[in-house]
Structure formats: structure tokens, C-alpha cells
């Protein structure tokens, strides 16, 4: 009984010490604690836009704390992506959304494709292509069968065994996964 309580006390002491050290370290090195609360430090990252509404969560896990609902089309800052999750900042919060919910607008923060053009149809009838031969429908309609190239193509074909050997050497392992159905609209 006594031994147990002693152990309990020492455990509490160690925990307190541990947390103090961590707090001390973070204050000394200016490290922020995990983003549980709104933070204004959103300078890093890239401009991004929400492709769909999603829950902003405290950690890259669908069971972690819900911080905020981010609406479709919201402009956010994207910090990093890992696995199926992207860390973003929105409305003063920093947290995680599903990687497929957010689309980076450019790598360096400068938007390349005009956001206003989203959803609009691209300009049609652009057929002139500089440089190598173009692949527009007119030119594709005027070509003829190239038997020599088909033969060359065939020479690169590999069999099942070679593909399996390649995967094995690369450490690629086949996984079971069902096809994904079309979303219900």
C-alpha cells in the first residue's frame, strides 16, 4: 500500500518535471506547442483552395479533435502533406484535412492558372503547336500507320515474370483493394 503510493508520487513528480522541462525547452527555443489553439503564424506554405468542404482536425486522424469546418472554395495556406492528410491554416486555425480536399494553387505561392478561370471551359480550336509535331485532332487525323514504330514498341514489351522480378527488387508488394464506386450525387 505504502509502496504503491510512493510510486504514485514519484510518477507525478516525474511527469511534472517532464512537462516543466518541455515547457522550458519550448520557451527557450521559441518552439510552439502542438497547434491546439488558434495561431496566427501562417506565413509558411503555399496558397491553396478547398476543393470540397472538410473538417479541420487537430491531428492527421479522422478521430482527432474537430477544430473547424472549412468550406469549399476557402482560400487556405497549405503547409505539408503526409499520407492522406494535408496540414493547412485557415481562419487562424492550423490543423489537418484530407489531402484530396485541398488543392495547392502553385508551388511558390504565385498562382499560375487564373483562379477565375476555374470551371470555365478551356479555349478551343487552338491547333498550332510550335516545336515538335502536335497532337491535335486535325493532325492526328492525317497520320498514317507506322509499322516500324509498332515493331519497336513491341520490342519493349515485357512478360509477367519480368514485371514481378522488377517489383520484387523494388520492394513493391501487391495489396488487396477494391475498386472505388462513383460517388453518389
Amino acid at each position: 500500500m505504502i509502496r504503491v503510493s510512493q510510486r504514485g508520487i514519484s510518477h507525478v513528480l516525474v511527469s511534472v518535471l517532464g512537462w516543466s522541462c518541455l515547457l522550458f525547452a519550448s520557451s527557450v527555443f521559441g518552439m510552439a506547442m502542438p497547434p491546439q489553439k488558434p495561431t496566427q503564424s501562417v506565413a509558411a506554405g503555399s496558397n491553396a483552395v478547398m476543393l470540397k468542404a472538410d473538417d479541420l482536425r487537430a491531428a492527421p486522424d479522422s478521430k482527432s479533435t474537430l477544430l473547424l469546418r472549412v468550406e469549399k472554395g476557402a482560400q487556405v495556406r497549405l503547409q505539408v502533406s503526409q499520407g492522406g492528410w494535408s496540414q493547412i491554416s485557415s481562419a487562424g486555425y492550423t490543423g489537418w484535412v484530407r489531402v484530396l480536399s485541398v488543392r495547392i494553387q502553385s508551388k511558390d505561392g504565385i498562382e499560375l492558372s487564373d483562379l477565375g478561370a476555374l470551371g470555365k471551359k478551356p479555349q478551343g480550336n487552338v491547333v498550332a503547336v510550335a516545336g515538335t509535331r502536335g497532337l491535335d485532332e486535325k493532325q492526328l487525323g492525317l497520320v498514317s500507320y507506322d509499322a516500324a514504330e509498332v515493331e519497336r514498341l513491341r520490342s519493349y514489351v515485357i512478360g509477367r515474370q519480368e514485371a514481378e522480378q522488377y517489383a520484387q527488387a523494388a520492394g513493391l508488394h501487391a495489396r488487396d483493394m477494391s475498386y472505388i464506386a462513383a460517388p453518389n450525387q
Binding site: L51, K52, S62, S81, G83, G84, R98, V99, L100, R103, I104, K107, L112, S113, D114, A117, L118, G119, P122, Q123, G124, V126, V127, V129, T132, R133, G134, L135, D136, E137, L140, G141, V143, S144, Y145, D146, A147, E149, V150, R152, L153, R154, Y156, V157, I158, R160, E162, A163, E164, Y166, A167, A170, L172, H173, A174, R175, M177, I180, A182, P183
Partner: protein, 321 residues
Amino acid sequence: MTGFGTVTHKGMSNMKPGFLWFVAVGTVFGMFGASLVQADDLNDLFKGYLKSKIAPPAQEQPVTASAPATQEVSADKPADQLLKALMGGNVSEQEEVRIGQQIAGNLLGAAPLVRDDGLQRYVNRVGRWVALQTERPDLNWHFGVIESDDLNAFAAPGGYIFLTKGLYQRLNSEAELAGVLGHEIGHVLRKHHLKLLQKSQGIAAIGGLLGRKLKNEHEVVQNLIGNGAEVVARGLDKDAEYEADRIGLVLSARAGYDAYALPAVLAEIGHVAKDDKRVSLLFKTHPLPEDRLSHLSDAVADTLDALPEGQSGTGRFYRLR
């Protein structure tokens, strides 16, 4: 060539709206005659097949490496058989491959393979490994990178898959390559282009000529696919593209790659200005990358949550010089 011209004009007597299209195609054919020049080359290819039909014991011409020749005894000429199969929707694998080869050869006539053996072998290894994760693992899958600055990828029936050098150079990892190839493999699996051809107005018109003017299989195939490789520039249904995206993502995940690599490619393509000539055909024949990403996102939802992280294969990715 003249044979084809005569046929079209003769057919004008029972003209239907669909037939106009066919006639238009025929007119272009007549004017340029480009696609029919190749008939000589191709006739050689198909001669063996025709011979085998006329004289069965003769040595089989290896038109396709994988599919065995159809052994069914029929009074029909091969051309008629193919047409009937297409019209009835029962295209054998051998016939599917023959159509795909014709389209592939025409596409290569527009843009030849990049002269880099290492690259082509690499793409075939990755592509075949991804294709092994499908319900058609033993199809004789062909993969190639073609000489073009465009950003695009193509699939033809029977397992012919191409991507442009321009698109390849935009990729950052083997997982992204696997995703792109997986999307095209999806088109082959679901026979999207074959169905497009079967639905096309031209087939009914050609069907009307059954057993008459179209002498050989080559003419049937070439007439069916229209001019040259124009068929690959014909857009598929949007849903077919969304479906291919879902399949591409699943196949690359099955193959052990990062499932999010294909969406990353779509996002990357979305960064190209919409009026950039290098994406004009791509955007004309596909939904915009933003829409594709949205659909993929809705479809995937939480299905990948339990999936362990896959490989990106960035270190192995074959860089073009």
C-alpha cells in the same frame, strides 16, 4: 483508296444524319489519302491472317503475340466476322488487339517513340506491374513514351498505352507514372474506346456494306477507327474519365505505390495555364483537373484511411536527359 471513295458515294442514296459523318470522313480520306497509303504496309500484316482463314493449315502470321487465332469455322470472310462482332458487341480479345494495334500504329505515325531504350523499358516494367493488378493481367500490354511536348496520355483497345514526353517530364516519381498508366489501363479494362467505336455512326454505315466493297479486315478496322489516330482525339464521356481516375488510383495503390500520386499529377496539370497549347487537346477531351480532383475526392472519401502508406519510388524514377 478509290474503292473507298466509290463506296461512300454509292451509299449516299440512303443517307442518314449519321451517314453524313461517315461521308465527311470518307471525303477527307479521298482528299488526302494519307491513311490509305499505309494500306500496303498493313496489308502485309493482315495478309497472313487472311491466308490463315483461306488455308487454315498454313503457318500463322503473328499478328498479335498473345491471342490465339479464332478457330471457329465460318463461311464469313474475316472482315465480315469482325464487323458482325463489333456490331453485336462480342469483340474477341484478338479482334480488340487488332483494332488497338491499328490505332497505336497510327498514333506512332504522328508521334514516334522517344529514342531512349532505358526509358521505354522502364515504363514497360512499371506499366506491366500495374497491369498485373488488374483482371486482365495476361493481356499483352504495350507501353510507350512518344515524342511530343503536349501533356497527354492515350489508351487504345487491347492494351496499348502511351504518354507524351511532355507529360513524362512533368512527373516526379514512379508512383505518379504508375497513376497515369493506371488511368489509361482503366480505359482498356472498361473498354471505353471500343464502346465509343461501337457506338460511332460509322459502324452502322460500314455494316451496310457487309460482304460487299470492304475487301479485307484492314479496311474494316481502318474505316472503323476513322482517319489515322483521330479516334484518340475524340473525347470520351466525362464519367469514363472519372472512372479511369478511380481505377488508376486503386491500381497504383494495389501495386504498392502511394495512392495519392495520381491526384498529385492532376493537381500539377491544373497548374498549367488553361490556354497553353500543350494542354489544349487534353483539356478538350477530358474534364478539367479541378473537376477530376473533386470527383476523385468525393469518391475516395475515407476508403484509403486504413491503407498503409505506399511507395513513391522517387529514387528509382527514370529521369529524361
